[in-house]
Symmetry: C2
Subunit: 121 residues, 2 copies
């Protein structure tokens, strides 16, 4: 798949809340995922599909999604960018907020090999 | 200015090749600019308006722009993303190529305080 095909498929699947399917079909086993900041005692970076899937599972278990949308993609060479906006409740605190972030992805050999999220801490 | 207003103005000025004006009107004196990779013997990071302006001047002096376009912005909270596509000749080598990159910007107090470019090395 081209960068644009990967980008369009990611947007489509995430728009349908099929995050797990997006990961399984589009991510390289060697994916590197970078957050804007590190969690307490943790790292900004997760390496490998298992670590990235675990991060996604933690997020899903701890947030209730009321609504969400994905904007983009903007495609440039082997990179693309999308924006995520979610109205969520962080379950452990019962705190509802809007999560907005810019995501940048790098594609190699038809798979996403790098993702980085930018948002306010 | 809101993030969206800064983003729209950056896209407008860059679409008109007014890069210098964009920098002078939209960038914080404390801007941090991050390239995808470091030049030989250099750093990925430029700090402060003077260093970032010098990087821009080097680029302008060494590239002839045949055409260019800016796509976006995608706006999320205090961040936004655009894509640049330039058909340029790198003058020292007479080499013509298409430069495509994703740029992510962070806005604080109405000014761009951080920019990061993603492209293949």
């Amino acid at each position: 798949m081209t960068t644009k095909e990967v980008a369009d498929k990611l947007v489509k699947l995430c728009s349908e809340s099929k995050f797990r399917e997006a990961m399984e079909s589009l991510y390289s086993p060697d994916i590197v995922s970078m957050e804007a900041g590190a969690p307490p005692g943790g790292s900004r970076e997760a390496k490998g599909l298992a670590a990235v899937a675990a991060k996604g599972e933690w997020w899903n278990a701890n947030h209730e999604i009321h609504s969400g949308k994905v904007e983009g993609p903007l495609v440039a060479g082997s990179h693309f960018s999308v924006v995520f906006k979610f109205d969520v409740t962080f379950k452990p605190q019962g705190r509802r907020f809007t999560m907005e972030e810019v995501a940048v992805y790098k594609v190699a050999d038809g798979k996403i090999v790098y993702e980085e999220f930018s948002y306010n801490m």
